[in-house]
């Protein structure tokens, strides 16, 4: 057993062995160690190795660990096949590029509408797992945002080329879905011109490769960040000998738990927004004429909003609060938005505690804006309908937990140091 324990003693870091090796071996010879001592020496060697790691080693180890975790993540990532079709849109009448783009936008809105995508999902039996666990609306949003790509390529005033792409774990379904999407685009376009298929939907032979370099590089960068932070805290604690790593760590953990608890108490808030383009021959659109107190009072009553506030204050105050705090109309200054033609592009949004309610309120505001301009010279177009906010806008729980942890760390340092000073005094 002594030989085995002496061998375990060789596992200590070389710098430590240079300083304590001879006397440690002398102790082992004298103490006649048993099996319990083998474990004790192994544990001691491991702790000493961790404690004595140099700064570059810690950073390198954390980077390698981060890259390995990212690599493992890549292995479990679902594979995807991408089918692509190329089509050419042509308008029957000669027109401007802007009119062409608006026609395409309209066709896209119809093809990617909830009804159209829901029908495609059902016909092709797409996303069975997601549909079993999520509402269909969420599945449609995921499909629209993550898996469908419609790109407008070069063209002129009469015709333009478009690529339609779809990503899916099965090649044949990806191809059929692109065919369905092209057909869905063709229907609205037939009223104004035609959509000709140049390259039919491809049957992908191999899955698309994930961005290995970005993924593994990102993992290594996150690892480096953790290594830097961990080393800095550890170095700080070691330098101040009276500080205890355990105490400071306990404060950090307590801070994180407190942050999470606070974050859980804060109710979710959802933001639904819509993008509107208005062309007013007489000047800028006047939202203040549309967003009247009567309109807000109607929405509040219809949706049953702010019941507690309504019980405590007048409707005028509640309306004023809603108008000033929860509804925003922002003019969009977009570089390269010239193709949209003349007019003002604005985003109108509403922030509320219920996801579907937020969407309904934004829809009511957009409808009010359209109706108020029906008989006027202003031409109104909804570029992006009221969104369905699948994720809450606030609170940002990971951020609050992170801040709580940092606060706990600082408090831990301060209190441990204060206690140290008091005990010395």
């Amino acid at each position: 057993m002594t030989k085995l324990v002496r061998w375990a003693g060789r596992l200590y870091p070389s710098a430590w062995r240079r300083r304590y090796g001879a006397e440690f071996d002398a102790l082992l010879e004298e103490a006649a160690p048993g099996s319990g001592d083998l474990w004790d020496v192994l544990r001691g060697a491991f702790v000493m190795r961790i404690v004595r790691l140099s700064f570059p080693t810690v950073i390198a180890a954390c980077m390698v660990l981060g890259a390995l975790i990212a690599g493992a993540g890549l292995l479990v990532m679902p594979i995807s096949y991408q089918s692509t079709a190329m089509v050419r849109a042509e308008l029957a009448k000669p027109t401007t590029r802007v009119e062409m783009m608006i026609a395409l936008q309209r066709a896209q809105q119809v093809a990617l509408s909830r009804t159209s995508l829901a029908q495609i999902i059902m016909r092709e039996d797409l996303y069975p797992k997601e549909r079993a666990t999520m509402p269909l609306n969420d599945v449609i949003n995921t499909m629209k945002i993550r898996d469908i790509r419609i790109r407008v390529l070069e063209g002129d005033d009469r015709s333009t080329k478009i690529t339609v792409q779809f990503l899916y774990p099965e090649a044949a379904r990806a191809q059929r879905t692109v065919q369905e999407l092209v057909a869905a685009l063709q229907r609205p376009m037939s009223a104004e011109g035609k959509l000709e298929v140049l390259d039919a939907a491809s049957l992908p032979q191999a899955p698309i490769a994930p961005a290995y370099r970005t993924f593994i590089g990102g993992g290594a960068a996150i690892g480096m960040l953790f290594g830097l932070l961990g080393s800095a805290i550890f170095a700080l604690v070691r330098r101040r000998k009276e500080w205890s790593l355990k105490r400071v760590g306990a404060f950090a953990l307590a801070g994180m738990i407190a942050g999470l608890a606070v974050a859980m108490l804060i109710p979710n808030e959802y933001v639904s927004s819509a993008v509107i383009r208005s062309t007013d021959v007489q000047g800028a659109p006047r939202w203040d004429k549309v967003l009247t107190d009567e309109l807000f009072a109607g929405i509040i009553q219809r949706e049953g909003l702010y019941q507690r506030e309504r019980a405590q204050s007048s409707m005028t105050d509640v309306v004023s609060r809603m108008k000033n705090k929860f509804v925003r109309v922002q003019k969009v200054e977009m570089a390269g938005a010239g193709w949209l033609g003349p007019g003002t592009v604005e985003v109108i949004s509403f922030r509320g505690g219920d996801r579907m309610q937020a969407q309904r309120v934004t829809r009511s505001l957009v409808t009010a804006w359209i109706q108020s301009n029906v008989d006027s010279a202003t031409k109104v177009e909804v570029l992006d309908p009221p969104s369905d906010p699948t994720r809450p806008f606030s609170p940002n729980r990971p951020q609050i937990a992170w801040l709580g942890m940092m606060g706990g760390l600082l408090l831990g340092f301060a209190l441990v140091r204060f206690r140290g000073r008091v005990s010395v005094a």
Binding site: V5, G9, W16, Y20, A22, E23, F24, D25, A26, L27, L28, E30, A31, P33, G36, D37, W39, D40, V41, L42, R43, G44, A45, V47, M48, K241, S423
Partner: protein
Amino acid sequence: MSDPTLLVLSSLADGDKHGYAMMDDIQRFAGIRLGPGTLYGAITRLEERGWIRPVPSEDRRQPYSITAAGKQHLEAQLATLDQIVKTATRRLRPA
């Protein structure tokens, strides 16, 4: 009460000792047998903190002695322990 650094300081308060002598002494006065890894972990920490120092020796067995800072730390720790013992004893005593 079984903090290895406190046990080593307590052992050295009696005079300079090498590793095995500390191990033996601690087992006698505290009834705790510190393993070689635990003992040398504590010795490393105590030396880094300046609470013990090696005493020049020709022997392979390196003796250590407690420093003034080490004594001060030990006294502070013992005062706390004393307070705990007194309080607990008073509370256990029947009224």
